[in-house]
Structures are given as structure tokens and as C-alpha cells.
């Protein structure tokens, strides 16, 4: 039974069997070689050892000797304990995880935290000095320090919480460990925890068990295992105690740890445990693959560097200036604090996180579950998608794709929701063929599914028969009824010698007393048994011409990567086979030759209907889609062609060779756009050759690949500076998923290990969801740019006051606490609102960003925000500041150089411009009014800034002011918070706000309008003169 798949169903036209034999054998070595070139061998050294396994070749006696055990009695308990002590428990070692506290502390020092800690520390130093000097306002610094520390700690907790949500990859591997195992020790069967299994133990397994360790089978009966999580093979694999293959992964007498025994029973000897098992090695491979920094993390780091660079440079510069201007060092330190606080966008990192999680939520609604928040953007910058075939691109279910009868090929509908088939069904041949399909089939629907759509019904039977059953049910309806009416009298199921399936039925026609013999099987075998062929319902002799027609059709269907079956029948003559004829399947007392050939049916795991469209969208979005599959090259290529991964006009080197009729070696490799690479070829390639393939071919299919090779392919792509997305579902995909910039696991078909290694999970297993993800990712990148531009702008408006305060010695225009209220108060909701902004143009029609050239924060963005809009804002805010002071009696010229006297606590009768005398507190209160006015002005101008940041290129009128309602919520919140701070909390002295005269809210209004007009002009010129000096310098 186990052999039927490879012998009957699979089509081996180009001798792929040979290819598959050796590839797995050497893959480890291959991996080692490739890695060796990169001088990165430390992790992979362990993997080299993988296949020095020869236990499958040994006889029982040799095994007994090798492991000093006895097949009948097992190990002694004492010996087992000894080995357990030597080898350790049979469990996967969890990776060395960083202690939670370290992770937490890491968050406390990442990003801007260091700068803010320095700020807080400086505050406390200043406080210490001032308290020693008895300065009355010393506590302000203490509070500020506390606030800064709080900001850091809260941001850290927030980030830590986000990180803690992403789960540990090893968790699922450990979940796979079977709890108990039935082991023979001291000659007795006993249940022991699987963790205590040791090499040499004899274990018994039965259907439904998880295999407790890597086991060499000694005895097996009808044993089948599900290796899908390990190798990606979706069909159950039979297991026996025979040595069938050199490669331990291929041979039938080894069962692997963590796979499931589906049916049958077996007894075997444990040959490796824990981390030495195959799955243990894949696990260590997966966890050994470092988690690459996501592109957005790199971008944010870059941005943090820029901001920190500016902060530190300006801070140090002005510290020096301040000291050389004869300010006291303590004062200079306080200036430094102000400059740091003003420069650091405290709320930004939290805002970015919130924006990302909003997108993640939006994507979850579209069936993309994002595990790692930063991965939201990664998909947007993805330039290569390495997609698994089965289940991702295809429906993961055999479906009848083509029929051949009456000397003609018909296509069947392979979509997910087929209800009818539209090919010509009028021919008598079809009637005959359909009868064979229906009757010569052992698959059955599980009862009680009458209301379930046919395609979704659960079937008992193997994949091909299921496909035929469903196909028949769709067209004929009530297959079970037909079978009842055509009672089955005898049946020969598949076996590997016959390579056919045969059954004999009564016919449903009461007048026809003949029996019907139906047969299906490997087409060439069926044809051998036929002497006639049915054409348009009539039997005609099977001459050479007809046989050639058959051959052509068979080749054509086989060439499509489809699994082809032949069907024939024979009405047994009534006289020879009367009613009571005793059919005996053992002696075959009925004819099995000179049958009538009826037709061919071919089946394939068809592509999902949404995939071709999704692939072409990826293409137009500049994303290269590479297929990486464990399947055969022909099937892989056929599917690749049908989904557009290899486009209709592209040729592989082999195709060109075939067309030109020249040897493959002579073909100019540059001519071939497409390439189908076999795992075996890949094995012999050097890194450079792989790079060459990845660069030169735009359409690539990798077939028969192993987990390690998937990893190599991903690394190859990453060497091209590509951002690589990998989709996959099996355990074997998990190293590649982990290595990829973004790993995408299938939610339905995916194994836990794959889901854990992935950053994103497609809940509906639908490749098309990736396109949505790409779109969202690109949008969020654009929008983060806008958010950052928005946030950075006001930093200059916060910084300038300090600089001018130091240089021109005016009363301080805005305080550090007030700055924090902007950064963490008014600006938060608007900057998040920008995440809701719609795309400006068709983001799916441009190339993915180059991760090293298209930065999140580029010079243009920083310069435009800092030196243009930022300065504009400062000017507007200063106007408000001067207005408040002037209207209270302090004209601008009086303010210049006033700082020392102004801040003198003892000087309580300073004359203003009008000769009035002010106490210190009166001045402070006025200073707070100044803060408030400055704050309000920044807020008002930030409204304008928010509106202009909606677009980077388009006019606001093109974008529409009302499309993003959240922006208006942002503006409303901004103003509301400012009103509350100003009028509601104006009496709380510690906050440094005062109720402001209403008219001061409007002072900066002209500048707000100017910001908007200026930006419209900027965008107009950018649109009008693309590529011009203006475009280069002003577009961010």
C-alpha cells in the first residue's frame, strides 16, 4: 500500500526519481560548505554530524551490540539510568533565554532612553548643587528629573510589554514532546515518561502515538507515520523494518521524533534522543538563526542616531558657548538639560509602536496576524518573497484538472468553490468514463455531510481517490447512490505489482445482465491491457495512431506536472459470466486484458484562485516571487507557470535548449529569464553561483529543497540587499522563516513550530493576504515618515528658545515641563492620526524601497522639518512670546540681556520698559504666561504642521481634507488638551501654565497659515518639476 503513490500515481517523465534520491543525503554537507565559505561555521558545525547515522543499515544483532541492549528484553533499568546520566534527558534544550529583567533593562537604555537618563541625572546633580546653595527653585530640577525618569520607565515598560507578547520559538517544540512512552526494560513493558528514554531503549508505538525519539524499527505492522511537519511531505509515509534507502531520512525503518504514528503498530530501538534527534537539530538550527533586526528597527535606530547626534552636538556646542559666555557651570548644565529635553521627541517611539499596532490590527482583520509588531512594515519593504508551494500557492488538495477522452483534452474547473463542470459532457465516452470514475473508487464521504458543500466534505480515502470522488459527485451527484445501484461484486485494490485497481459491478440497467469490469491505474499499464479505445462512445481498435495520440496526451498532461490516471472498462459477456458467476480475485477468473480504453484523468493540487492575481500584483509592486518547494521540479514549474511566478513568455535555460535543439551548456544563461533549480543542483553550487542565479533570473523556482537549502536561499537573497519574506508551514520551514526578514506562516495548515518562528501568520492560508500586507506595510512606512516629520518639526520650536535664551539672555520662553506637555500631551494623538492617512498614490505600483537608500528619516526630511518648518514655527512662537511680554510692559529691547537680573531671586524691583517694578514672583508668573503663549503657539502651528504632513507630494486638495477623520480628531484633541492645560490646570503652579488671554491664541495664526501655504508651494514645485534641484532637496 505504501508504495502506491510513487509507483502508480506519480509521473516520472524526466527521471526526477534519481534527483530525489541523493539530495537529502548531502544537504547538510552542502549547507556546511556554503556556510564554510562565509566563515560562519560555529552554529552549523553541529549540523555536519547529522547524517553519520548508519543504524538503518545495521542488522538487529549489530544494533543490539552497538547499543548493548536486547531486542527482547530491552535495557536494564540500571543501564538505562547510566545512559540517562550520560546523555541527559530526552528533551530539547530550550535556547539560552535572556532573563526577563535583562530584557526589561535593555528597554530602559535603548533608543532615546540614554539621553533622557543623562538629562535626569543632570537634573538631580543640579538639584543637589542648588539645594546645597539654598536656591529656592531647586526642587523644580528634582521634579523634572523624576518626570524624565518616569518618561523613560513608562516608555520602557510599554516597549517591554510589546516585546513580551512575541512568543518563544522553543515553546512549541517542547509542546511536541510526548508525555509517556511504552518501553521494554528488564524484560518487562512499562510506561515511562518520554523524557527518560535513552539510546538503546526498546519502545512500542501504536496508531495515534507521537514517536518519542528517533527510532530504528525492529518490527512494524501496517505502520504509517505523518512526516509532514518534518519533511513537508503531506502524505502518510509507511514504515517497515526493512532497510530501503541509504539516506536515513528516506529509509523506511526509521521513525522520527515528534512525528505522529497514524496507524498500525511498531516496535523499535531508540537510536537518538533529545537534541541529537533530527527535529532537535532543526530546532537548534531555527533557534541558532539569529533574529535579524527588522528594517523598521534599523530605520528607527538610524533616526535615533540622527536625533541623538543633533541633540548631543547642539548640547555640547551650547554648553561650551555658555561656559565661554561666563555662565556658571551649573547654569550651563541646566541649559544642557533643556536642550536635551527639547531635542528628544519623548513620545515618538511610543507613537510609532501605537501606529504599528494599529496597522497590525487592521491587518488582522484582513487575516494577517502580526506577531512581531515591527514586521508590519517589513512586508512593505519586502523585495523578494520566497513562497512555499503546497498550501500557500495551492489549495493543498488534489483536484481533477484535465480529462482526455475522444482524443481530446478537456480542462476541468479547479477553483475552490466548484459546483459544476463546464466541459462537454454529451459524449458517450464521458458517460463511460464517469461510470468508471464513480465505481472504481474506494473513497467515501463520511456520513452526515449532506448540507456541506461538496468540496468541503470530509472523505475517507487517499488524495487521488478523494479528488475523483468529489469530481464525480459534482458532475453526477449522489455517487453513493450510483454505487449502490451498481453493486460491487469483486474488487482488487491497488498493489505495487499490478499498479491498477479493478472492480466488477452489476449494472443499474435491469435489462442489461452483463457485468461491468472497471479498472484504473498508471496509464501505460492500463493501455497495455487494452485492445480497443472508445471514441465518441464507440469502441474502435487501438491502432498505432490511437496509441500515439494517447502518448501525446499523456506526455502533455504529465508535462503540466499533473498526476495522470488511465481508465478502461469491459462489459463481460453475459453468456460467459452468468448471474451466479463466482468472481475470485485471487485466481483472477475474469479477463484483465483486451479491455476498452476510455480515457485519462489528470489531477493536480491546483493553485488557489486568488494567487495569480496576487502574484501579478507583487510583480507590479516590484517584488520578486520565488517558489521554494520540496515538490518535484515539473509540478513546481507547472504551478509556477499557472500562477505567474514563471510568466507565459519566459523560458528556462532548458526550454531554450529544447527550442533551439542545442545542449543546455551552450545556452546563454542571460537569455533565460526563468530558472528552475533542483535541490541537487543547488547542493553543488557555490555561494557565487547562487548569487548569480538570484541576480540574473527574475523568475526562479527551487524544487526538491531541504530546510537547510531554504535557509541558504534566504541568505542568498539577503546578500543581494533584499528584504526577504518567506512563507511556509512545516517544521522544515522554520529555520528559513526565522532567518527571513519576515517569516509568514500559514494559520490553518501551519505547524506550531512554523507559526512560532514566523513574524506573521496568514489566518486564511491565502497568499493574497500577503499583498494586503505589503500594501499596509508600505503605507505605514510612508505614514511613519509623516509622523516623524510632524514630530521633529516642533523640536526646533522647543530648542530655539533655549538657544536664544542662552545667547540673547532673554527670559526663558518655554520651560522643560511645558515641552514635555507638548511631546507627551498635545502631539501624541495627532501623530498617531497620521497612521490613518490614505496612500498618496498607488503604492503598489512602485518598487519596494531599497533598505539602504530609502531611509525612513533622510536628510531632506530632517532638514525640511528642522530648518524650514521648525524655524518657521519658532518664529511664530517667538512672536507670541514677545507679544505677551510687550503687552505686560516688557518691550523686546528691554528683554535682551535681562536674564541675570530677571532670574535673581533677591531682585524684587526690576523696572520694566515703563518704569514699573516687578517682584521675582510676578516675573515668574509672567514667564509662565510666556511659556503658555509659546506652548499655545506651537500647538496652533502644529495643527498646520499636521495638516501639511498629510501629504508629501500631492496637494492637500488632491488628498482631500476630510478623508482621514482621525486627523480631525487629532486636531480637536490637540486643541482640547491645550485648553485644559491652559485654563483648567493654569492654577497648578507646578505645571507652569497660566490662563492665557484669548487673543494670544491667535498670534501665531498667520504663521500657521504661512506653514500651510509654504508647504503647498513646495509640493507644487515638486510636482511641477520632478527631478529638479527643488525636488531633490525638498522632497522627503
Amino acid at each position: 500500500m505504501g508504495k502506491k503513490r510513487s509507483d502508480i500515481y506519480s509521473v516520472e517523465i524526466h527521471g526526477t526519481q534519481d534527483l530525489e534520491k541523493t539530495d537529502k543525503e548531502d544537504e547538510e554537507e552542502k549547507y556546511k560548505n556554503l556556510k564554510g565559505n562565509k566563515k560562519k561555521s560555529k552554529k552549523t558545525d553541529d549540523l555536519k554530524k547529522e547524517l553519520d547515522l548508519d543504524d538503518h543499515k545495521l542488522s538487529k544483532e549489530e544494533l543490539e551490540e552497538k547499543y548493548t541492549t536486547s531486542i527482547s528484553k530491552g535495557l536494564t533499568s540500571a543501564r538505562a539510568a547510566e545512559i540517562l546520566a550520560r546523555d541527559g534527558p530526552n528533551a530539547l534544550t530550550p535556547p539560552k533565554s535572556t532573563p526577563e529583567i535583562i530584557k526589561f533593562l535593555k528597554q530602559m537604555v535603548g533608543g532615546f532612553s540614554i539621553l533622557l537618563w543623562v538629562g535626569a541625572l543632570l537634573c538631580w546633580i543640579a538639584f543637589g548643587i542648588q539645594i546645597a546653595q539654598g536656591v529656592a527653585s531647586a526642587f523644580d530640577n528634582l521634579y523634572l528629573g523624576v518626570v524624565l525618569a518616569l518618561v523613560v520607565i513608562l516608555t520602557g515598560i510599554f516597549a517591554y510589554y510589546q516585546e513580551a507578547k512575541s512568543t518563544n520559538i522553543m515553546a512549541s517544540f517542547s509542546k511536541m514532546i510526548p508525555q509517556q512512552a511504552l518501553v521494554i526494560r528488564d524484560g518487562e513493558k512499562k510506561e515511562v515518561p518520554a523524557e527518560q528514554l535513552v539510546v538503546g531503549d526498546m519502545v512500542e508505538i501504536k496508531g495515534g502515538d507521537r514517536i518519542p525519539a528517533d527510532i530504528r524499527l525492529i518490527f512494524a505492522q501496517g505502520c504509517k507515520v505523518d512526516n509532514s511537519s518534518l519533511t513537508g511531505e503531506s502524505e502518510p509515509q509507511s514504515r517497515s523494518c526493512d532497510f530501503t534507502h541509504e539516506n536515513p531520512l528516506e529509509t523506511k525503518n526509521i521513525a522520527f521524533y515528534s512525528t505522529t504514528c497514524l496507524e498500525g503498530t511498531a516496535t523499535g530501538m531508540v537510536i537518538s534522543t533529545g537534541d541529537h534527534t533530527i527535529i532537535g537539530r532543526i530546532a537548534s538550527l531555527a533557534s541558532g538563526v539569529g533574529n535579524e533586526k527588522t528594517p523598521i528597527a534599523i530605520e528607527i535606530e538610524h533616526f535615533v542616531h540622527i536625533v541623538a547626534g543633533v541633540a548631543v552636538s547642539i548640547g555640547v556646542l551650547f554648553f561650551i558657548i555658555a561656559v565661554s559666555m561666563k555662565y556658571k557651570v551649573l547654569d550651563s548644565i541646566i541649559f544642557l538639560i533643556g536642550i536635551i529635553v527639547a531635542n528628544v521627541p519623548e513620545g515618538l517611539l511610543a507613537t510609532v509602536t501605537v501606529s504599528l499596532s494599529l496597522t497590525a490590527k487592521r491587518m488582522a482583520k484582513k487575516n494577517c496576524l502580526v506577531k512581531n509588531l515591527e514586521a508590519v512594515e517589513t512586508l512593505g519593504s519586502t523585495s523578494i518573497i520566497c513562497s512555499d508551494k503546497t498550501g500557500t500557492l495551492t489549495q493543498n488538495r488534489m483536484t481533477v484538472a484535465h480529462l482526455w477522452f475522444d482524443d481530446q483534452i478537456y480542462s476541468a474547473d479547479t477553483s475552490e468553490e466548484q459546483t459544476t463542470q463546464s466541459f462537454d459532457q454529451s459524449s458517450q465516452s464521458w458517460a463511460a468514463l464517469s461510470k468508471i470514475v464513480t465505481l472504481c473508487n474506494r473513497a467515501e464521504f463520511k456520513p452526515g455531510q449532506e448540507n456541506v458543500p461538496i468540496m468541503k466534505r470530509v472523505v475517507v480515502g487517499d488524495a487521488s481517490e478523494t479528488a475523483l470522488l468529489k469530481f464525480a459527485e459534482v458532475i453526477l451527484g449522489d455517487v453513493m447512490g450510483i454505487r449502490k445501484r451498481n453493486r460491487k461484486l469483486a474488487e482488487i485494490p491497488f498493489n505495487s505489482t499490478n499498479k491498477f485497481q479493478l472492480s466488477i459491478h452489476e449494472t443499474e440497467d435491469p435489462n442489461d445482465k452483463r457485468f461491468l469490469l472497471v479498472m484504473k491505474g498508471a496509464p501505460e499499464r492500463i493501455l497495455e491491457r487494452c485492445s480497443t479505445i472508445m471514441i465518441n462512445g464507440e469502441e474502435q481498435p487501438l491502432d498505432r495512431e490511437r496509441a500515439e495520440a494517447f502518448q501525446t496526451a499523456y506526455m502533455e498532461l504529465g508535462g503540466l506536472g499533473e498526476r495522470v490516471l488511465g481508465f478502461c472498462h469491459l462489459y463481460l459477456p453475459e453468456d460467459e459470466f452468468p448471474d451466479t458467476y463466482p468472481f475470485d480475485t485471487d485466481s483472477m477468473n475474469f479477463p484483465t486484458s483486451n479491455l476498452c480504453f476510455v480515457g485519462l484523468l489528470s489531477m493536480i493540487d491546483p493553485p488557489r484562485s486568488t494567487v495569480p492575481d496576487a502574484v501579478s500584483k507583487c510583480r507590479s509592486a516590484g517584488i520578486k516571487v520565488i517558489m521554494v518547494t520540496g515538490d518535484h521540479p515539473i509540478t513546481a514549474k507547472a504551478i509556477a507557470k499557472s500562477v505567474g511566478i514563471i510568466s507565459a513568455t519566459s523560458e528556462t535555460v532548458e526550454d531554450i535548449a529544447k527550442r533551439l535543439n542545442i545542449p543546455v551548456e551552450q545556452v546563454n544563461k542571460q537569455d533565460a529569464r526563468a530558472a528552475v533549480i533542483n535541490g541537487m543542483e543547488l547542493k553543488d553550487m557555490t555561494t557565487e553561483q547562487l548569487d548569480e542565479i538570484l541576480i540574473n533570473h527574475s523568475e526562479i523556482v527551487f524544487a526538491r529543497t531541504s530546510p537547510q537549502q531554504k535557509l541558504i536561499i534566504v541568505e542568498g537573497c539577503q546578500r543581494q540587499d533584499a528584504v526577504v519574506a518567506v512563507t511556509g508551514d512545516g517544521v522544515n520551514d522554520s529555520p528559513a522563516l526565522k532567518k527571513a526578514d519576515i517569516g509568514i506562516a500559514m494559520g490553518i495548515a501551519g505547524s506550531d513550530a512554523a507559526k512560532n518562528a514566523a513574524d506573521m501568520i496568514l489566518l486564511d492560508d491565502n497568499f493574497a493576504s500577503i499583498v494586503t500586507g505589503v500594501e499596509e506595510g508600505r503605507l505605514i512606512f510612508d505614514n511613519l515618515k509623516k509622523t516623524i516629520a510632524y514630530t521633529l518639526t516642533k523640536n526646533i520650536a522647543e530648542l530655539c528658545p533655549f538657544l536664544i535664551y542662552i545667547i540673547a539672555s532673554i527670559p526663558l520662553p518655554i520651560g522643560t515641563i511645558t515641552i514635555l506637555f507638548i511631546d507627551l500631551g498635545t502631539d501624541i494623538i495627532p501623530s498617531v492620526a497620521l497612521a490613518y492617512e490614505k496612500a498618496e498614490s498607488d503604492i503598489m505600483n512602485r518598487r519596494p524601497r531599497h533598505k539602504k537608500k530609502d531611509r525612513l528619516v533622510n536628510e531632506q526630511l530632517a532638514v525640511y522639518s528642522y530648518l524650514q518648518i521648525g524655524i518657521l514655527q519658532s518664529v511664530g512662537a517667538f512672536l507670541a512670546y514677545f507679544t505677551v511680554y510687550a503687552e505686560q510692559g516688557w518691550l523686546p529691547n528691554t528683554l535682551l540681556g535681562l536674564r541675570v537680573n530677571w532670574e535673581d531671586d533677591y531682585y524684587n524691583d526690576i523696572e520694566d520698559s515703563y518704569g514699573q517694578e516687578w517682584t521675582r514672583y510676578q516675573r515668574t508668573y509672567l514667564q509662565w504666561s510666556g511659556y503658555t503663549a509659546f506652548f499655545v503657539s506651537i500647538t496652533i502651528q502644529q495643527v498646520a504642521d499636521l495638516i501639511i504632513r498629510k501629504t508629501r507630494r500631492n496637494s492637500l486638495f488632491q488628498q482631500g481634507l476630510l478623508r482621514n477623520k482621525v486627523i480631525w480628531l487629532g486636531i480637536f484633541s490637540q486643541i482640547a488638551i491645550a485648553l485644559i492645560l491652559c485654563y483648567g490646570l493654569g492654577s497648578v503652579t507646578a505645571l507652569n501654565f497660566t490662563p492665557l488671554r484669548v487673543q494670544y491664541w491667535f498670534v501665531a495664526m498667520p504663521y500657521a497659515i504661512l506653514i500651510w501655504v509654504y508647504d503647498e508651494i513646495r509640493k507644487l514645485f515638486i510636482r511641477q518639476y520632478p527631478g529638479s534641484w527643488w525636488d531633490k532637496n525638498m522632497y522627503y
Binding site: 542616531h305 547626534g309 536628510e859 532638514v863 518664529v875 503687552e887 505686560q888 514699573q916 514672583y921 532637496n1033
Partner: protein
Amino acid sequence: MILIVPLLCVLHKAMEMNATSGGTEGQRDIYHQKPENKDEEGAQHSEDEQEKCKEKMGKKTLADVIQEMKTFLWNSEKRECMGRTAQSWGLILLFYLILYMFLAGMFSFCMYGLLLTLSPYTPTYRDRVSPPGVMIRPYLHGFTIAFNVSEPSTWTPYVNSMHHFLQAYDDNVQEEKNIECPAGQYFVQDGAESEEKKACQFKRSQLQNCSGIEDPTFGYSTGQPCILLKMNRIIGYRAGYGTPVSVNCAIQKGNESALKSVDFYPGNGTFDLMYYPYYGKLTHVNYTSPLVALHFTDVKKNDFVPIQCRLNGEGIVNDVTNDRFLGRITFTLSIGM
């Protein structure tokens, strides 16, 4: 506006700092700053290769970093300074010059407009400066008046300060510049705002024992120091609303007996109404604030005596926690014998 060029440089430098620390990405980042390089992908590629080799060999040496920095500052091949050619710098600076000149112009215009709305005689709002604060003289620095009678050097600075302050109150100066006003009523001067206002005489001699005329040491030499108390000027403020504001002093905290007697001059320590209202320094040129002299004739010696003097009168606020100089003042006397 002077800050712009340094800022621009700082920003460039920040980018560069990041670039050098970022290794490979940095190299490209510099490229990125020059969009005209887009068509030099090929050249860039080889550069990448070199970078890769370097990466393989390990971290960049300090010399590499310095070399990169040098190239950044002055790239002789492309004749670029900090990633821009002379022409590029010229253009960008010209652009910023124009932009900032425009901004400066707009700001000046707005300031000019603002100043136009202001009266030169009276500030638009006076709510922050009233009610009045209080100050004392002598004022050297701080509010501890500590001296030793037997050591003149400890009190001469105070005396000098008093003399200096009172120069403007010299009788002849006052008589020459200011007029005598009827006491006990506000000296309201109606008429055009721009008209010069007359000021009432406050002669030094009114301070009697504290005038420094008879005792040029203001009592410091005898351990009975004089301290002058002054109410802050506020334009248009009518102190006391018809009843003169008076002054009283007391020990702030502690032993009441430390301060046995204080003499107040002139009168009983009141600010006469005729000195109000004040019309601002532009028109009320010769205005001299009225004073109240506190003569501490019997204060505990050789001790720190904290004294608080308060103004009393209608409209005077002297109990705000935040402002310890609003309608009151606290100072410490420490007289050593």
C-alpha cells in the same frame, strides 16, 4: 538667524556620525545625499563589494573612520565638501538666505505691527505687576543685613548704598525738579497722555533720623540701623484707595522681645497719597518713589533677628505664599557689637 549655518552643519555632521558608526549603510548614506548618483549604480556596486570585504576582515579601523571623515569633509575627487559641491552649497545657502530673510522680514513686520499697537506711556495690561511688591534699601545682595558696629568696614557698604540711593532725594535736587503737592490726596494729572507729568517732592530730610544728614552712618555706627522701605511702582496705581498705606514690622518667627522698638519716618510710616498715581517713566521723568524709613533703635544684638515688614492698606495683598515680596518683605538683622 545666526544659528542656521552651524545648525545645518551640525545636522550634516549628525548624519555623518551616524554614517560612520553604521558601517556599510553609512557609506551608502553619503551617496544617498546626492540624488545625482542614482545612475551610478554600477560604481556603487563595486563599492559595496569593497565594503563587504572590509566587513569580512572585521571592524573598520580608526584610520578608516578618519579617512572617511576626511573624505566627507573634503572629497577631492568630486570636489565636494560635506557631500555637496561648491555650487550645491551655494544654492542651498542662497535658498536658506532667502528663506530666512523672508522670515526675518515677516517677523520684523509683525513685531513692528505689535509695537504700533502698544502705547508708549502705559502698558496694555498691568494685571501681573499689581498689587505692589516691596523692596528695602540698603540692598547689597540678599536680605541679611549683618555688620559689626565696632568694625566700620562691615557696615560702610550699607551706608554707601544708602547714600547712593538717597542722592536723588537730596532736598535741593527735589526742590529743583519737583513740585510741592498737597498732602493727603492723590496727585491726579489729567490731560494728554503724552504731556510731561509733574512729580511731588520727597525730600531726604523727611526721613529725619534716617536721612543721613545728621548721622551720615544712618545709625549703623551705633547699632541702630536705618532701613528704607520702598513700594514697587505701578503705573496708574492708587495705593490704599484713599487711605494712605502704612507699614508695620515684626519679628517673623521667634522671640518677640528681640525687636523692642522701631521708629518709622516720615509720619507714622505711611506712603502719602500725593505720590500716586505714577504715570510711567516716559512722562513722569522725575518721579521718585516715596519711602518709609525704619529705624531699628532697639534690636537684639549678636543674633540673627528675622524681621518682616508688611504694608497695610486697602488693595494691598501681603499674605500670598508664593510671592514673599508682595506687600511684605522679610530680612534679617544681625548686629554685632
